[in-house]
């Protein structure tokens, strides 16, 4: 019955579930709100599963397409569809949403329904971003998802949450306004269409491409975030509640990177080639500069936030290698970073819930009290350092391999992550987990409970499975990526 509208379900089930959670009302019904939220999140994941099982890996054309007129006056359509690039991201988002609901189960005691609803609604909106094939529809989802995230940071965040929320909101809004201007320009150039695939075929002069390139670059670069428009991320992470950090790192950063593949590369291929050096340079700065900055962080969340920026540098670097290895490496890195950063922020959440500190110096010797947790944390730390057999290795490896092909020195700078990534992650691990217990409060910390083991265990399985057998992921992406690259190789200059 729903065979024709899977993507609509994927978008609207979480949103409606969010509305249902809101309907449970005040904190008197907190337990009900939690269960409704969990049911909604699970349902959201279940309705997304046909995207995998029915996905045709042999075609690069859009699948599960839905199209209906929305605002006929401006030729705006409710147009949905996925390919091998967007489908894995929808799955990742639906999956992470379930984890986030579980992660907030006990921690959030204040405005529970609103908290859960914000996540569910955001999940639906983000699915919309990945599924939208109409520019205006994309823009609505793209901006819409900021609102719940803004609220999550601003309401359930830390002491400096208002500054962080504002910074985050203004930063991202600034970029996207320029994107809107570009979209309107594209509407006129394409003869009155907001259809993204029509835009892919629209001929554009170099000046127009250049201007739009930087407009889109700012819009998506802020989200990724790329150096130097990254400084909102550490602040937002530090202030966000654990669930907010998880979604922020695992999903919203991917929205920016996704924009590169859906908008910048195919719509502006000539400008993309022309200014590839610029993006590559920023990406390499992100890897090396941010790697060093991460080393000196005293706050664990900041450290992982900076580590995220460095890892996302690999994504943009891979995209601008213009070969399947690089682009798919970037995509794999996105998925992997979704697992690993989610897991690391959950780990920090586990510690924070017990000691109410994120400062590295307050810990030390955790393994004496929390051996099971230490084992999980070790696995995720190693994944963050890109150890083979974890998902963290796959994307980095592919991007480095792709980069060597293009220019040895790109790969040279990128490969410094092997050293920096290990240095900042394992040095933090050493100070937090190893050693003798020096802080008496650490002595009272108890090991992970069943709920936490479930969360970390599921992510551990994902991290290992993707590291040992990444083939299913690249199989899904490959045809779409090859087609995209063939498209990008053709000039659009009139």
């Amino acid at each position: 019955m729903f065979g024709q509208s899977i993507l609509s379900l994927v978008i609207w089930v979480p949103i409606l579930a969010g509305v249902a959670v809101l309907a449970t009302g005040s904190d008197r019904n907190a337990a009900l709100a939690r269960w409704v939220a969990l049911a909604g999140a699970l349902l959201g994941l279940i309705v997304a599963l046909p995207l995998v099982s029915d996905f045709n890996t042999a075609t690069s054309s859009m699948q599960f397409v839905e199209k209906a007129a929305w605002i006929p006056a401006f030729n705006v359509h409710y147009h949905l569809g996925v390919d091998g690039i967007s489908m894995p991201l929808i799955l990742l988002n639906s999956f992470i949403t379930v984890l986030v609901v579980i992660a907030g189960w006990q921690v959030i005691q204040d405005k529970v329904a609103q908290y859960m609803a914000a996540f569910l609604i955001m999940s639906g909106l983000i699915n919309g971003v990945f599924a939208a094939l109409d520019g205006i529809l994309f823009y609505v989802f793209f901006e819409g998802m900021l609102i719940p995230l803004y609220l999550i940071v601003g309401v359930w965040g830390g002491p400096n949450r208002v500054y962080a929320a504002f910074k985050f909101f203004l930063y991202t809004l600034l970029g996207s306004l320029l994107m809107l201007v570009s979209m309107i320009y594209l509407y006129f150039q394409s003869g009155g269409s907001f259809d993204i695939q029509t835009w892919h075929a629209t001929a554009l002069g170099m000046t127009a491409q250049t201007l739009m390139f930087f407009a889109f670059l700012l819009a998506f670069g802020v989200k990724v975030p790329m150096w130097p428009v990254h400084t909102w991320l550490p602040d937002a992470h530090v202030e966000a509640p654990t669930g907010g950090s998880v979604v922020l790192a695992a999903i919203t950063l991917k929205v920016g990177a996704y924009g590169f593949l859906r908008f910048i590369l195919p719509i502006l291929p000539d400008a993309s080639h022309e200014f590839a050096w610029f993006v590559i340079m920023l990406s390499l700065i992100a890897v090396a500069y941010i790697g060093l900055v991460a080393l000196v962080q005293a706050d664990m969340k900041k450290l992982i936030a900076y580590s995220s920026i460095a890892h996302m540098g690999f994504v943009t670097l891979g995209f601008f290698m213009f070969n399947p290895m690089g682009v798919e490496g970037g995509l794999v890195q996105m998925i992997s970073h979704g697992f690993v950063s989610a897991a690391l922020f959950l780990c920090i959440g586990v510690m924070y819930d017990r000691l109410h500190s994120r400062q590295i110096k307050d810990y030390g010797g955790l393994v004496n009290r929390m051996p099971v947790f230490a084992a999980f944390f070790m696995l995720f730390a190693m994944a963050n350092a890109g150890l083979p057999a974890t998902s963290g290795f796959v994307g980095e490896f592919m991007v480095i391999m792709a980069a060597v092909k293009v220019n040895f020195w790109f790969a040279f700078v990128a490969a410094t992550t092997l050293i920096f990534g290990a240095a900042y992650t394992l040095w933090m691990y050493k100070r937090v987990v190893f050693g003798s217990v020096t802080n008496p409060h650490v002595e009272d910390m108890h090991d992970v409970n069943a709920r936490e083991i479930l969360l970390l265990g599921v992510l551990a399985v994902c991290v290992l499975a993707m590291g040992l057998y990444p083939r299913p992921f690249t199989d899904v992406m490959h045809v779409s990526v090859v087609d995209l690259l063939a498209h990008v190789a053709q000039s659009k200059l009139p």
Binding site: V293, L295, M378, V404, T416, L418, A422, L426
Partner: protein, 662 residues
């Protein structure tokens, strides 16, 4: 059972043991944990023996287990290459690992992390086997990093010791510096060969022998030189070659069984194995081979010097390992890959033996590791004593013992090598013989002979002070001495038995490739007239007398006249200080790299992120908006007559402007 299944069993049996002991160790208890892991490794060893016989019968294998990733025409796979080089490594790894597993029952019996330890060493065995059995660069890198991970976990096994968790981080990071080069080398292989499969790469290598790449303008480099050096940088990390050697001595913070298994017999030889495996590539670049030889020679000689001044029993053996790894590396540089691998094998046995014997001594003297507070242990621990003696004699190259055949052949190979750096390397390895003999027997005499000084140990450091400090040492239980005896046998005889087939027969066949223009092996073969003749002939050669002189001098110094070394130490205090401080490499690295990186990171963060980006641009523009809005706010006074006045002026201005236009 077909052979493919058997190949799979070899790595998977230890992995199974590791998972069971690691995840369910607490549930199943200590003895079940060691039973399941030992059984796993034993199965793996037996399977390796069967595979070895199969390979001897001429059945090699190169096939895929599963496809890791497909990108168009490129298939990245997990697969096995089973040939004589692989099976030899499999036998060494599984045998030493089995001995170490059994030994651990005795060594770790009081340790609360007993099950965890067994899980780790089985996991190590799995990783090492994946490394040596690989048929492609990707899986090689997987094994490479996996053994590094387990090494990290095991060096930091006693995680409350500050020195241990410092050493394991250091080991991991220094290895990562090597891996940095390694992965770039792999990247160049993929970029130019279009595959990571060994067989295809090796087959295509001669076609690319003249290919050059331009790394910086106007300076073409031979592709094979760049690939060779980059891959070797990985080997320098893993096999602790100068200047990436600094992690290995510190790795002695780990429990002794893993020092024997990982940091002497197997993991540290992965770099040697890798270069031997890549011989079809290295044979195409004499620059890379020269580089290897120089690095090896420096390591062999200068790390040996450091062994002389060490007082920690494990560190003496560790520096000896560094030096011996240098010997292997020199042999690689001389295109004598099979000789390097041969020394790898003999060294694995006698060095594992020396480490395990050192561990046995450490147990006996209640976890004191300072050889100045041992002495006279010979009569208390006869098995440890005799096996240590065998190990030391093998190490210094006593004729007929295993180390003699391998080391002597390395020295001969370097002598015959035509590389421009071979002369220097020859002197380095020659002097190294004397140094090796001197520090080995310095340790031996100080531990087993002379006055009994173990009652004067200032404190019993180490992980467990069992409270019976000061009791008379006694021989360790059979789980400890059994492996010592089992390792003593190959230390005695394996060289004599295998030199002819391994070096001068066709044992390695196609597994190792040597170009015709590097005739070292061929010339060695002409000089070789059987193992017995070689040993008898040795008495007339320089290395034998150098080794004898080293033993004699150490006996004189440490048994007869201990005042002389003390006087030398005083007279040459600068040199002594330099050796004790390990040429100040640690200080240099920690200041320049560790502190430097933090300083740079800190200033990038404060100046770049906080001051410029946030301070100037982000908050700066916010302040600009604020100031602008204040300015605008001034106009919004809320008084209607202000607005009316402004409107009036505006209308007036517009009208004037329009009037002028028309």
């Amino acid at each position: 059972m077909d052979m493919q299944t058997l190949y799979l069993i070899v790595p998977l049996a230890p992995l199974f043991g590791a998972i069971v002991a690691g995840l369910f160790g607490r549930v199943i208890g200590r003895s079940l944990s060691h039973i399941v892991t030992i059984a796993g490794v034993a199965v793996s060893f037996i399977a390796s023996v069967l595979i070895f016989q199969d390979v001897l019968a001429g059945h090699t294998y190169n096939g895929t287990v599963y496809t890791w990733m497909v990108l168009g025409d490129l298939r990245l796979e997990v697969g096995f290459l089973i040939d004589s080089l692989t099976t030899m490594m499999m036998l060494v790894v599984t045998f030493v690992s089995l001995m170490v597993h059994i030994y651990t029952i005795g060594y770790m019996q009081d340790d609360p992390g007993y099950q965890r330890f067994f899980s780790y060493i089985s996991l190590f065995t799995f990783s090492m086997l994946m490394l040596v059995m690989s048929n492609n660069f990707l899986q090689l890198f997987f094994g490479w990093e996996a053994v590094g991970l387990v090494s990290y976990l095991l060096i930091g096994f006693w995680y409350t010791r500050e020195t241990a968790i410092y050493a394991n981080l250091k080991a991991f990071l220094v290895n990562r510096v090597g891996d940095f080069g390694f992965i770039l080398g792999i990247g160049l292989v993929l970029a130019h060969f279009g595959t990571l499969d060994y067989a295809t790469v090796f087959a295509k290598a001669p076609q690319l022998a003249r290919e050059t790449i331009t790394l910086w303008p106007d300076t073409p480099w031979k592709l094979m030189t760049v690939i060779g050096i980059l891959l070797f940088i990985g080997a320098m990390g893993k096999s602790a070659q100068f200047p990436l050697h600094v992690w290995l001595p510190d790795s002695m913070e780990g429990p002794t069984p893993i020092s024997a298994l990982i940091h002497a017999a197997t993991m540290v030889t992965a770099g040697i194995f890798m270069v031997a495996r890549m011989s079809p590539l290295y044979e195409l670049s004499e620059v890379a081979l020269s580089f290897i030889m120089v690095i090896g020679a420096i390591t062999a000689l200068f790390m040996g010097f450091l062994g002389i001044v060490q007082n920690d029993i494990k560190r003496v053996v560790a520096y000896s390992t560094l030096s011996q790894l240098g010997y292997m590396t020199v042999a690689l540089g001389a295109s004598a890959y099979s000789v390097a691998v041969f020394h790898l094998m003999t060294h694995a046995f006698f060095k594992a033996l020396l480490f395990l014997a050192a561990g046995s001594v450490i147990i006996a003297v209640h976890h004191n590791q300072d050889i100045r507070y041992m002495g006279g242990l010979k009569k208390y621990m006869p098995i440890t004593w005799i096996t240590s003696l065998i190990g030391s004699l093998a190490l210094i190259g006593t004729p007929f013992l295993s180390g003699f055949y391998s080391k002597e052949t390395i020295i001969e190979a370097v002598k015959l090598s035509h590389l421009p750096v071979a002369d220097l390397a020859y002197w380095a390895v020659l002097i190294g013989v004397f140094v090796t003999a001197f520090y080995s027997f310095r340790m031996y005499f100080l531990v087993f002979h002379g006055k009994e000084r173990f009652h004067h140990a200032p404190h019993s450091h180490g992980h467990g002070d069992h409270g019976h400090h000061g009791g008379t040492p006694h021989e360790t239980p059979w789980v400890v001495t059994g492996p010592l005896l089992a390792l003593a046998l190959p230390s005695l005889a394996i060289g004599y038995m295998t030199i002819e087939p391994m070096l001068f027969g066709d044992f390695f066949g196609n597994a190792i490739y040597v170009a015709d223009r590097h005739p070292v092996m061929h010339e060695l073969n002409q000089e070789f007239h059987g193992a017995v003749a070689m040993a008898l002939h040795a008495v007339t050669t320089l290395p034998f007398w150098l080794a004898a002189a080293g033993v004699g001098l150490s006996a004189f110094f440490y048994l007869k006249r201990p005042d002389i070394p003390a006087a030398i130490q005083k007279r040459f205090s600068f040199i002594h200080g330099m050796l004790v401080n390990k040429y100040w490499f640690d200080e240099f690295y920690s200041t320049v790299f560790a502190k430097g990186a933090r300083l740079l990171g800190g200033s990038l963060w404060r100046r770049g992120d906080q001051a410029v980006i946030d301070g100037l641009i982000v908050n700066g523009s916010a302040h600009l908006v604020e100031r602008l809005s204040r300015l605008v706010k001034a106009f919004q006074s809320g008084y209607i007559y202000h607005y009316a006045f402004a409107m009036l002026i505006g209308v007036f201005a517009l009208v004037t402007w329009f009037a002028r236009l028309t």
